[in-house]
C-alpha cells in the first residue's frame, strides 16, 4: 500500500504528495489523515517498544533482560531514593527510566569480592554479570562489557570509590588496574586519599 510504504520509509516528500492528493478529496481527507496519523504513531511506538523489549545479545549469549539491567546494579534502593530527592526530574524504579535520565552517583571498583561488599554497604553501583554468563565469556568479551559499564558511569560523571585504596594507579594490578588506567585515560585522577577516582 503506497500510504503505508511512504509512512514506513519516513519519506517526507512522498507523504506531502499523498496529503496534497487527499486534500483534493476533502470529504474523505479527515478520515484518511487520521488513519495516517494513527499509522505513524503505531510505527513509532512499535519501534520504541522493540528497542526496549528486544533480547539483549552479547556475543554468543542471549538474555531475556536488556543488558543494562544486569550490567550494573544499585546495591540498595537507598541510592535511588537519594537520586530522586536530588534530581529535579522524576526518577522511576524502571531501569529503562534510569537509562533515559542518567544520574550522577557512585560506582565502586576494586578486587573481588571487596568491591561487591563495599557497594552493598554504601548503596553504590557495581559491575555485575550473572555468574553462569560471566564464566562463558572470553576475557575479551568480559572486558568489552566492563568497558561499556565504565563508559556509562563516566558519561554520568560518577565518582568512583575504590574498595582497595592505592597510593598510585600503577600499584593496582589485574582488572582493577586496567579499570583505573581506563578512567585515567578518560579524565579521572586518583584522589589524595587513594580511595577514589575523581575528575
Amino acid at each position: 500500500m503506497p500510504l503505508e510504504n511512504a509512512a514506513k520509509l519516513g519519506n517526507v516528500s512522498a507523504l506531502a504528495a499523498v496529503v496534497a492528493t487527499l486534500l483534493r478529496f476533502r470529504a474523505r481527507a479527515c478520515v484518511v489523515l487520521a488513519c495516517i496519523a494513527a499509522m505513524l504513531c503505531a510505527t513509532t511506538n512499535a519501534s520504541a517498544s522493540q528497542s526496549v523489549q528486544t533480547k539483549t545479545r552479547v556475543w554468543d549469549f542471549s538474555f531475556a533482560e536488556p543488558l543494562n539491567t544486569w550490567l550494573e546494579r544499585d546495591a540498595s534502593s537507598r541510592l535511588r531514593l537519594e537520586n530522586q530527592s536530588n534530581s529535579a526530574e522524576l526518577a522511576s524504579a524502571s531501569p529503562h527510566a534510569a537509562r533515559a535520565a542518567p544520574q550522577v552517583g557512585r560506582t565502586v571498583l576494586g578486587k573481588y569480592p571487596d568491591y561487591v561488599n563495599l557497594a552493598e554497604s554504601i548503596g553504590a553501583r557495581r559491575f555485575n554479570i550473572p555468574t553462569n554468563i560471566w564464566n562463558k565469556m572470553s576475557p575479551a568479551e568480559q572486558w568489552a562489557a566492563n568497558q561499556r559499564f565504565l563508559d556509562r558511569a563516566i558519561a554520568r560523571g560518577d565518582e568512583f570509590v575504590l574498595s582497595n585504596p592505592v597510593k598510585s594507579i600503577g600499584e593496582a594490578t589485574g582488572w582493577f588496574g586496567r579499570e583505573l588506567r581506563y578512567l585515567a585515560d578518560h579524565g579521572y585522577r586518583l584522589a589524595e586519599d587513594g580511595a577514589r577516582m575523581i575528575r
Binding site: P113, N117, E120, P139, F176
Partner: protein, 125 residues
Amino acid sequence: MSEPRETPNHFVEDVVSLAGRYRKQEDLSIYEMLKRTGYPERRGALTIETIRKALAKSSEHLSEWLEYSADKRSSTGWYIREENGRFEVGNVDSSGRLAEQRSYSDLVEACADFIQRELDQIAFE
C-alpha cells in the same frame, strides 16, 4: 590445548595451571578451557589432596589463582583473598553478601579448597 591429556598427573597439572593459562589468552572462556581439560568427565579422580600436592609442587600457580579471584566480576561465586595475613575462601551470595567463609593460615590449603569449589561451580552449575 585441544584434547584432555591422559595421565592423572597431567590432568591435575592442567587443572591447577588453568588460572594462569586463562589469563594469558583473550579468546576462550574459563568454562571452555575447563571443559577441554576433561574436568566434567574426570572430576571423580580429583580430590582436595591431589590438588594440594600439585600446588605444593608448582607454587607459581598460587598467585595466579589469587589474581584470578580478584579479577572476577560475576554476581555470585567463590573467592579467595588474603585478609590480615591469613587466607579466606568464601562465597558471594545472590544478595551480594559474603557467606561460607573459612580462614586458612596456609595458602596452599586455601587455594586447593578454592580451586575445587570454583571449578565445580563452573563445570556443573
